[in-house]
């Protein structure tokens, strides 16, 4: 099953990089979100000087980053199945004699790859717009982002496959996904990222373990449920 999943992921990434349509809009969207936050906090940061800005921005970093990842990522997750459906290629994928869950795992891998690019872009945009220096905490922070994004993609891909068949799928996708990830993915990720940035990644063991556990549970759910979603 895994080789087939990897093939599907490669196909997705290849078609994406032929046009770069989606990745481009996701990166631009994340830029706009960060910019919106910068202006929203203008009043709060007005008085800060170059010396104090890092300290004042610190509590804002992980909430802003995760809201950006979440919304920009949703844009990508939404289209991963919608594109296939609109071009009629989903039926083609379903005709391939293999376990259907390979489609799911393939989509998870390609989405994970694309959203990671957006994550990295957002982190860079944040440091540019807020004049924030990640100094030495970048590695643990990226570890947390990697884990949190993986959980987000695993459940997001499953929900995307559900909402793609329904009317008004764009709105529906957000309505279905946000309550599910609020406590299970976003909250632990935000806490762990904050701790990582304060240089206390060892205090975030509970959150990291939870994120790992939820990713496993959501993978199991996706594996079990995906057949029912596609069944036609």
């Amino acid at each position: 099953m895994m080789p087939q999943a990897i093939t599907i992921a490669q196909k997705d990434i290849k078609t994406e990089f032929r046009t770069r349509e989606m990745i481009f809009s996701m990166v631009v969207f994340s830029l706009l979100i960060i910019m919106a936050f910068r202006f929203a906090f203008e009043f709060y940061l007005e008085e800060s000087t170059a010396a104090t800005v890092s300290e004042e921005v610190l509590p804002l970093v992980s909430p802003i980053l995760w809201v950006t990842f979440c919304f920009a990522g949703m844009l990508g997750l939404l289209t991963s199945f919608a594109k296939e459906k609109d071009r009629g290629t989903l039926d083609g994928l379903m005709l391939v004699p293999m376990d259907r869950s390979a489609i799911y795992f393939g989509k998870v891998l390609s989405n994970f790859f694309l959203i990671l690019i957006v994550d990295i872009a957002s982190v860079v945009f944040f440091s540019l717009f807020f004049a924030f220096d990640y100094t030495g905490n970048a590695v643990p922070m990226f570890a947390v982002i990697l884990l949190g994004t993986f959980g987000f993609v695993v459940i997001g891909t499953l929900i995307s496959s559900i909402s793609v068949n329904a009317r008004g799928r764009e709105v529906l996708f957000a309505i279905l996904l946000i309550p599910l990830i609020l406590f299970t993915i976003l909250l632990p990720s935000i806490t762990a990222t904050s701790l990582a940035l304060e240089g206390r990644i060892m205090d975030a063991q509970v959150e990291l373990r939870l994120l790992g556990a939820f990713a496993v549970i959501y993978i199991a759910l996706g594996y079990l449920m995906f057949n029912f979603v596609l069944e036609e």
């Binding site: 929900i159 559900i162 329904a166 279905l176 406590f183 979603v229 069944e231």
Partner: protein, 229 residues
């Protein structure tokens, strides 16, 4: 589910009797509980807790109905899940509305975002509203299957949300899970009456909702037979 029509009347009568009993026990029989800062507001407990119980019961039925529908493919499991979700959201709305009424009197604030129990109930409510949005108005086979999948995911997400709150912080009073017996036997009896009353009410509403589904289908069938839309 093929019970005679008279059965509905029995359920409704039981619900009515027990609701009257609950009102009597809660408002007249039980003295004011002076352990609380707002003893009068504490009376809402006899409404709040049974309603909360029914909403959990209803969501549990959604989960069971969804799983059974996916397993067997029989339509009536799906209608049970959908009807139960509607009633569950209604009762969960009552929980969320009556909670702050008591909170405002006892805690002097309507809502505490840091309290796990409150926020999880809120998330639960959001998840099942999403379920209803997904179901929409249409009745296609496709929708039923997708909604069933989401019904299962949503139900599994709730305990996960519970775990994920790092500090298990809750000042919300405990009803069930206390070993020390913070609840007196008499209050427990009042509460039990309320739980029984609202469970009967839930059963009645569920049966009525299923009947409406059935009639809708019949109307649709008749329309098709005379060549309408």
């Amino acid at each position: 589910m093929k019970l005679p029509k008279q059965f509905d009347f029995v359920i409704l009568a039981m619900a009515f009797i027990f609701i009257l009993l609950t009102i009597y026990m809660a408002l007249i029989w039980r003295p004011l509980d002076t352990n609380f800062e707002a003893p009068y507001a504490q009376k809402i407990f006899y409404f709040h807790v049974p309603v909360a119980w029914v909403s959990y019961l209803a969501f549990g039925v959604v989960f069971m109905g969804s799983a059974q529908f996916l397993r067997t493919g029989q339509r009536h499991w799906d209608t049970i899940a959908f009807a139960s979700a509607e009633i569950g959201v209604l009762f969960a709305t009552f929980v969320i509305l009556t909670g702050p009424v008591w909170g405002a009197a006892e805690w002097k604030v309507y809502w505490r975002w840091e309290d796990t129990k409150l926020t999880i109930t809120f998330i639960l409510w959001l998840i099942y509203i999403a379920y209803l949005v997904l179901r929409g108005g249409t009745e296609s086979e496709d929708k039923a299957r997708l909604a069933a999948v989401f019904g299962i995911i949503g139900f599994i997400c709730v305990p996960l949300s519970f775990i994920s709150s790092r500090i298990w912080y809750s000042i919300h009073p405990n009803v069930v899970a206390t070993s020390s017996g913070s609840l007196s036997t008499e209050s427990g009896m009042g509460l039990a009456a309320g739980v029984v009353a609202f469970t009967f009410l839930y059963m009645f509403m569920l049966r009525k909702r299923l009947l409406i589904f059935e009639l809708n289908e019949k109307v649709q069938e008749l329309k098709e037979r005379i060549g309408g839309i």
